[in-house]
Structure formats: C-alpha cells, structure tokens
Symmetry: C2
Subunit: 595 residues, 2 copies
C-alpha cells in the first residue's frame, strides 16, 4: 500500500515502509526528538530543529550550548534564511518559528530531515552523523518554487560549549575560549583552555583536548564568532541583529562570547535548486578538523556518507524480524525499539529529558541484550567493559564516566547482579562458555585479573552475604526500583524482588557451573537457591497476592497484617516474576501474571 500513512495522529505518522516517523505539525505536545549517534559523536534533534551535540560524553564533552526546556525548546544549532525582501525564517522552524506553508519532519534511522516552504522557497534540511567520524553534516537543499529570481542569505548559528555541561558558570568559562577562521577549510575553529573535569592530579586546569569546527561546502561571504555582534546587545536568537546586515562582523579571537556563524549568499532562478552542506564537529587536532571540513565541501561525499549511515542501520536492524497479527508490535519490535536501544541508550546515553553520558552498570548491560539476536559480539564487549568496572569485593560502580573514569560506588544492591544475569543470557544465546575464562581486572586490583566466571561469582556472593537475619537480601541504597533510595540506607531493609532476582541467577549459574565442570560451585549455588527459596516463600509470601486483593476488594496496602513483605510487589516485580521461577510456586506466579 504505497503512500499509506501508518498509525496517523494529528501530529504525524509512520512512513509506508515504517522506516521514518513523519511529523506534520511542528507544535507537537512536547519536543519529539531523534537521538543520532555513531557510538562516539552524537546529537539530538527535535521537530523544531533544536538540540545539542557532543563527542564521547554528552555532559563532559558537549560541543554546543543547550538548555532543557520542554515548552520553549529554544536552544540549538540553527540556519536562518533571509530573502531579498528582508523576511527571515528558519530551515528547522525554531528559533524564528514562523508559519511555513508546508512542513514535515522525518525522523529516520541515523538521520532527520525537516522540510518546509516559506515565501515560495522550499528547504530540506537533512542532519546526520557519518559513521566513524567525530562530526555531523547538515545538507540544506533549497528549491525556488516561485516564478522570480530569488536572492537568499543563509546564516548559520550556534553557541559553543566545548566541554562540561551544564556550563552554568558560562561567563567564566567563555573567557577560556578562542576562535579563528580557517579560510582553506571554509570553517570556523574553536578551542578552549579549560576543561572542568578532574585530572589525575585532582585539579581541573586542563585543556579541552579537541578542536571544534563548523564549516561550509561553499566559501562563506562572511562569518562571525561573537555573540554580541551577532545577536546585538540584549538581542535574541529569534531575530538576531546580524540578519539585517549584508555581511557578518568577522570577529574572532579571545574574550568573546563565542558562537559560530557562517553566511552564504545564494541566488536561485525560478525552478532552480541548490544544496549547501555544513559540518560541525569535535576533531582531535586542527589538521583533522580541516580534513573533515574539506571532505564535506563535496556534496557527493556527503551523499555517500549518508548512504553509508543508512546501510549500517539497515544491517543492524534488518537481521531478525517477526511477523505477528499486530502490525504495530512488528513495527516497534523489528526496528524502532532496537534503534532506540542502540542509538539512544547504548551509544548516545543521553536524550532530552535526562541528559547523560555516563555508563550505568545496570542500564547499559541490560540494554546490550538488544544485540543478542543481532550481533552478540557487541553484548560480549559490553559484558567485558562492565566486568572491568567491578571491585574485588564484587561491588561495582553504580555508574561511571567515560573520559574521566570517575564513578559512583554506593550501596545500591542490584547493580552488581546484572553482570551474571546478562552473562547467563549471553551464554544461553551463544553457548560460548569460553567467555567465562576470559580474564579482566577489577577497579582495585591493579594488573591482577580474574576470569569472568570469578567476576560473576563475586557479584553473586556479595549479594548472598548481605542478607537480613531472616534470610532476605538487603535493599541498601535501592534495588532495581531505585526510587527507593533511602529506605535501606541503614542496611536493615529487605528486598523481596532482589531475592527473586538472585534466586534465578543462582539456578542459572548452578547450571553453568555444572556445565563447565565446577561441581562444587554448582552444588553450592543450588543449595543457596533452596535456602533463599524457603526464605522468600516464608517471609515474602502469605498465600494471597496483594494485587489480587486490591483488584478484587479495593483494599489498600497496610490494611492487612504482615504487609511489609509485599511492598516490592509492584509493576517492576510483576514484569520480572514472569521471567523468574521461585521454586514450586512459580506456576502460580506465572498464572497470576498471565491473568
């Protein structure tokens, strides 16, 4: 059914092949964004054209300034178009926010495109991140739909961040930035002499290690890197003072409030089309910045890079697909959920609502299971990365920052168990028992390494050792329900859910140990599983399920005796129970969930 709109609402629909989500009204209830990343460089882009860019870590190494505001959504990297009558609009809707005669935002796998028409000029702005290059490309197609010759000024605009975000002490930080214009690359370069991240010696008087660049495929007629001359004093990106000027101020150097703006003048005959290509990136050196900027002076190079991005995603997402009676389920499971898990969760680790950049010990291990049916080698890499972020006592960094390797070592009680959980699932998928013998260090072991099997054992053992007098695991600073971050800080509170989780892992690892010939450990794990099962059934179960009680009679929590044990039987627990067998009563659990 070519041309059919899949799952249409008043704001948008999927494309007929399901490979794009197409927004047809820029005023969506909240910003609807695409998180685009190649695993190192990344950006977010909303249907208004707003968003931010980073390399490696979206908070420690953010390239452009941005403020979270779901209502205004007015921070980003923008292109203004001004016509011969002095009318200005934005290629991506914001910040000018006019009334385009048509508008579509197409979020695809690895790219977004915003199409709009203003005053007879149609533009298509396609934004993507090339595979394996620390930059993004903006391809701006312009089509003159009117019957007269049109003279257009194109003006780009972004504010440099060049390091840690949020840069709430921005007026201090900007004094460490310096810009220049590289004529051979048609590009503005930006550097910073301060990076507010801790160094090995404990201070943060370090250089930002990169060279920011913003280039154009056409030699700009003028440029500016000074926000004051660009916006005008007390001005606003909604309508910068510079749009009224024939040329930009060409200010570069130190002590500015540094931005990047390039100006191209374009003349289009009636019916004529042209494309201009812009780059933005964080290179490792001035040479690399120039190389990347010059590469995309070629529109053909940009087209090839975009095709390569599409191909990579097709290879990743096209590996396994299901067909069910529910086409919505197929659409989400076959491509979109996988895309979001990989691009948003594993590679970018940031978005709009929660801006991040760190690795969560639990989060990215969980998420990496998306690769099990696609490319299990990537799950394996994630397992080994997380194993290296474990301590010798089995505890782990709850999260850690790439770049600084600083992490949070807390009493969260479930995070460490996700290592054996995901290892068991990896083995179930791949049967690669040899992985258990791969050696990795601990955070506090120096050069000393241990097998992955030992890493898993230490995690299991640590949770086992931290049980209450009646044999239930302690919840500590929270379990999978990490909103319960204060109930167990005194190491008294228990988690029934954590008991279920540990029980499943003990059984799995009893099987694994038996399979690799470690019968002592297999016996130990089975014995522990039995002990835990009894404690769970005696202390965490009174023969009557809370949700049934509330469902059937409307009773509230606490209205019956002995309800403490049931506090963790929440939605998360139900989801996991469906996957966890608790001894003889597992069938009951599954039946309950299925109903």
């Amino acid at each position: 059914m070519p041309g059919r709109k899949l799952f249409p609402t008043k704001y948008g629909h999927f494309s007929p092949d399901g490979r794009e989500y197409i927004i047809v009204n820029p005023r969506t209830p909240r910003p609807w964004i695409n998180v685009i990343s190649n695993g190192d460089y990344g950006l977010t882009i909303s249907q208004t054209g707003s968003g931010y860019s980073w390399r490696t870590h979206a908070q420690l190494n953010r390239l452009t300034r941005w403020e979270q505001d779901l209502l205004k959504d007015d921070w980003g990297k923008y292109i203004y178009i001004t016509d011969e009558n002095g009318r200005s609009w934005s290629a991506g809707w914001k910040p000018v926010g006019g009334d385009p005669s048509d508008y579509r935002c197409r979020h695809g796998f690895g790219y977004s495109a915003i199409e709009s028409t203003h005053y007879g000029i149609r533009t298509v702005l396609t934004v993507f991140v090339p595979n394996d290059e620390p930059c993004e490309v903006w391809m701006l197609e312009l089509h003159n739909l009117s019957r007269r010759k049109r003279r257009l000024r194109l003006t780009t605009y972004l504010e440099w961040c060049l390091g840690a975000a949020p840069d709430w002490h921005r007026e201090f930080h900007r004094t460490f930035m310096e810009t220049e214009y590289d004529k051979t690359a048609n590009a503005i370069l930006a550097r910073k002499r301060l990076w507010e991240i801790p160094t090995a010696r404990g201070h943060w008087n370090a250089n930002w290690d990169y060279v920011g660049f913003h280039g154009s495929s056409r030699a700009p007629r003028s440029f500016d890197t000074d926000k004051e001359s660009f916006l005008g004093r007390y001005g606003s990106p909604r309508m910068p003072a510079a749009l009224d000027k024939a040329t930009l101020a060409k200010r570069v150097g130190k002590w500015l409030d540094p931005i990047a703006s390039l100006r191209n003048d374009i003349t289009l005959m009636p019916g004529e089309s042209r494309t201009v290509c812009y780059t933005l990136g964080a290179a490792g050196s001035q040479e690399e910045a120039g190389t990347l900027a010059r590469k995309y002076h070629s529109l053909a190079a940009a087209e090839r890079s975009l095709a390569a991005v599409r191909e990579r995603w097709e290879n990743l997402l096209g590996t396994v697909s299901v067909r069910t009676p529910d086409p919505a389920l197929d659409l989400m499971v076959n491509r979109w959920l996988k895309y979001q898990a990989i691009a948003g969760r594993l590679w970018a680790r940031t978005a709009y609502y929660q801006t991040g950049g760190a690795y969560g010990f639990r989060d990215q291990l969980q998420d990496s299971q998306v690769f099990l049916p696609i490319d299990p080698g990537r799950t394996r890499e994630q397992i080994l990365l997380h194993a290296r972020h474990q301590f010798k006592d089995g505890s782990v960094y709850h999260w850690w920052h790439p770049i600084t390797e600083i992490g949070l070592h807390n009493n969260m009680s479930d995070n460490l168990l996700w290592l054996p959980f995901v290892v068991a699932n990896y083995l179930a998928e791949t049967a690669e028992d040899a992985l258990l013998q791969v050696r990795q260090p601990f955070l506090d072991s120096g050069e000393e390494t241990a097998t992955l099997f030992d890493h898993c054992h230490r995690a299991i053992n640590r949770v086992w050792e931290r049980r209450s007098p009646r044999g239930l695991p302690l919840i500590g600073a929270g379990d999978w329900n990490d909103g319960l971050s204060a109930v167990g800080l005194d190491m008294k509170g228990e988690s029934v859910w954590l008991g279920h989780f540990l029980h499943r892992i003990l059984l799995d690892f009893a099987g694994i140990a038996a399979r690799i010939g470690d019968h002592a450990r297999a016996t130990e794990y089975r014995g522990r599983a039995d002990v835990l099962c009894r404690a769970l059934n005696e202390e965490g179960w009174d023969g009557e399920w809370y949700w049934r009680a509330t469902k059937d009679s409307g009773e509230k929590l606490g209205s019956k005796e002995n309800t403490e044990g049931r506090i963790y039987l929440n939605a998360q627990t139900w989801a996991v129970l469906a996957d966890v067998a608790v001894g003889a009563r597992s069938e009951q659990v599954l039946n309950a969930v299925e109903q």
Copy 2:
C-alpha cells in the same frame, strides 16, 4: 548643586546627593545590577528588570529560575502591561524590550526603581527587600499621562526554582512541585517535595522546607501557575500567549511546569495614578506566607517597610565619612564600596557573574573588616563563625555552605591565616583582648572548645610547619592568588607571598601574646619571624625588583637567572607588600610601591 549629574556617561550618572546611580539607557554595555539583601533573603536586579531571588543561599535555595547570560539578560521576574489596544510592554524593559519614551533605572541602597513611559502610561517599579522578612516587595506606580481613560491589564510572571540552582535537570525537578491559590492572601503558593541537597543520612530525598508565595495588594482577577497555558506551546516570555487573553487559565496543582502569574485589571482616568504592590517570598510555613502576603495588601505598610530599609542603610553607611580633594573617592569610599561589601559580599554572597551563596573562609573574613569602623560587633560575629569552621589541626574549610554545612577541605595554603590576620586587625580597632578568650569548637572536636587565641595559634602553626627545606612556606593548592591552583599540589612549590603574610602575622601575634602575658609564645613568634625573614630575604629576593626591570628595560619574566622566586611578585603581592613589613628591608618595599 541640586540636580547636578555626578560623573555622567552616556549610560548614566550618580544622583546629586550620591545616593543613587541612575541609568538612563537600558542598553548598557553589560547588565548593571543591584544586589539587594537583608542578610537572609535577597535578589539581584539589572537595569532591564531581570534577575533572581533566594533565601539564605543563592545556589542551594533559589526561589526563581535564572540563567546567566550577560548579552541576553533575559531571565527574571517580570510585570507585563497591556493596554486597551492590545499593546504590551514591560514595567522593567525586559522581556518585551520595547522603546519607552523615557526610561530611568535608579539603583539605591537596598532598593532599585525602574521608571518608564509607554503610550502615555508612566510606571515606576520599585523593588526592595524588607528588613528581617524573607520576601521582596514590588511597588508598581501607574500614572495616566494621556488625555483619555485607559484600561490596563497587569500580568506578573516568574518561573519557580524552589531549591538548588542551576536546576539543569529541571524537567525532572518540576514534577516534585505543587502550586495552589490562596484567595484570602491574594497569593499563589508553591511547594516542592524534593530538595537536591544532602541530608544527614547522605541522600537527598528531602522536602524543600519553605512555602513560596507571590501575592498582590489587589485581588487578582485571574492567575496561572502553568507555563504551558501562560506562554503557549513553544512560546516565549517575550510575548506570552496569555497576554492576548482576557483572563488567565487558573491552573494549579501538580505536574505543571510551574510558574506564578497574577492578573490585575486597572482603569485610570486622565491624570490618575494608582499603585499596586506585589510580594514574592520564601516563608517558613503557609501561615507565614499568608501573613506576609496580607501585610503588603496595605500600600502604607509597603511604604513603611521601604522607609525602614532606607533608615537601616543610612545608619550603616552614614557612620564614618571622609572628605578628600577627590569627590569620586569620597563617593565610593563613604557609601558605595561599603554598600557593595555588605550587601553583595557579606549578606548576599552572590551576583550576576559569579553566583554563589557559600562562605569563603578567606573572602567573608576579609570583607567583614568593612564593619571595623562602622559596627565592629559584626566583624566579631564573622570571626567567631569562621573559627567554628576550622579543624583541630589548624586547617579550615576553604568554603562551606550554609544550610548543608558541607565544605571543601583542601590544601589551599593561605585561607587559614586570615583568621589571625583579621583578629589582629579587630584588636587593633577595638582593643577588646577579651575576645581572645572566647571559646569555640572545631569542626572535628565535637563539644570540645578552645580559645580564639588557640584557634589563631593553630592556624599560624600549621603554615609554619609546612615549609620547604629552604624555609619558605609551601603554596599547596594555591595561596591568595588562587588561580595558581595546580603548581603546588605535590607540596613542593613555595610561596614568597605567603611568607610575607605569615611574617606580618607572626609579628602582630608576638605583640598580642606579650600584651596578654603569654611571653613564651611572644618569644616563639618573634623567633619564627626572624627565621622566616632571613629565609625570605635570602631566597625570595635578589636585590632587584622584577617590576622595575620590566618597567625600565621591557625585559620579560624568565629572561634572567633565578627568576623562579619572583613569580609571586604580582599585583596582589604589591598591594599586600604596602601593608607588610619584611624586616629591615620593609622601607625599600614601601618606597618601591610608592613610586
């Protein structure tokens, strides 16, 4: 000379009596602000009417949202005025930023007033913080200068922060806020169930301890606390959607992006004037919020509070004055420098460029000396407060946060010495040697206390013990020049400046010890001063001053042998040298500085 403009520039001038700085053009080169505080509650206000408010700590307990941006200066608490023709402007210029037919911003002691005229309506917006109340008052006078009856809508607007700033994770934090409208108080109330500051148990699941309120002296016709209905989706404070509506949406409760907006309708006959009074504050309870909001239903109460503010400042600033041949010096020394030291540095501890709220061990001790000729009891209070933020080993918190009492304990090498330095200056001014016997605890001493003399000794002794093999003090993580924060981290680098400073303090405390009969210590201090003096003269002086060399011959640092010892002879050192006698050569130093 009544009416004479003192020290006029194109942007402004002092009032004839020197008690106000009057800005005549809202487009000053950068925001020119007044930091207004009563010692607990405070606000900043720029000549555009922008700024933020807080109680006790401008970062941990900020009442309203604000983003630092010296060019846009577009965050604040605003009043819109809309006339019968639908034209809107701002009582303080921003955010509408129109072209008033006249404009003046008068920054005074404890208040600011912005006067402007738009379309025949003259407004005077006077903003102040009452003495000893946790709130601010906005008195808005309206004058109809036109010849016809005018119907005006007044609409206030602010975004709640209610806790820690920057609230970069704002979309998470806003979900913990709740608003309501208290009809009897003509006021919006706002609460928050999360305060991202550490509690005694180490987590931050704590309530915000206050009730925010925003009230009006006239019963509002309508109100709103929802940014979405007020601004409109993807709207902007420059021209909110609500200004076009006859009534505001009256949305209150949870899950909003919470703001406060009150709407009053006012009719003014030709020549008629009216005043409306608004409050904003952070009360300790709903009852206190209501009491304060209702108090300022009375314009007379507001006038009385403003008069009391003026009186307090007159009492503080009018105590001592100098008359010199330079009226600019007199103007600054007699009132403005004292005002800024007290309001900005001691009470508010925040501003525009550097937003703060903490106490710097060094900073506020230094600043408290402003009170020595005015009200030395306040210097005394500051001395005792800082003594309580010292450790038993003599080291101190480099800074600490009121509210949480969390501090930074680092290897900065000069901070601790400011305690004996300021004590010596206090004694020189007051001769109150009894202060030395007042007992205070240390941070790590529990109930155990020690005399202030002992506190001072421990500071002196610690710096004395941390000297290099050649007898110069170690610079550690920086001395008074705290930009040199990495050169001495390995505890090898030396500070000649710190030696000068310690030498002066040793001599002062030798005299103090002798005066109070502690002759052993007096002898010890004098002996140490002699040893230090020899080391300084031998290792930190080569008979030729760097600044003279560069002044006379244009030589650069590093162009001569043995320049390492001279690196600290910078502008700060010169300023201190004028005040520090280094043994026999002090006269040379003073001569050099005087030239």
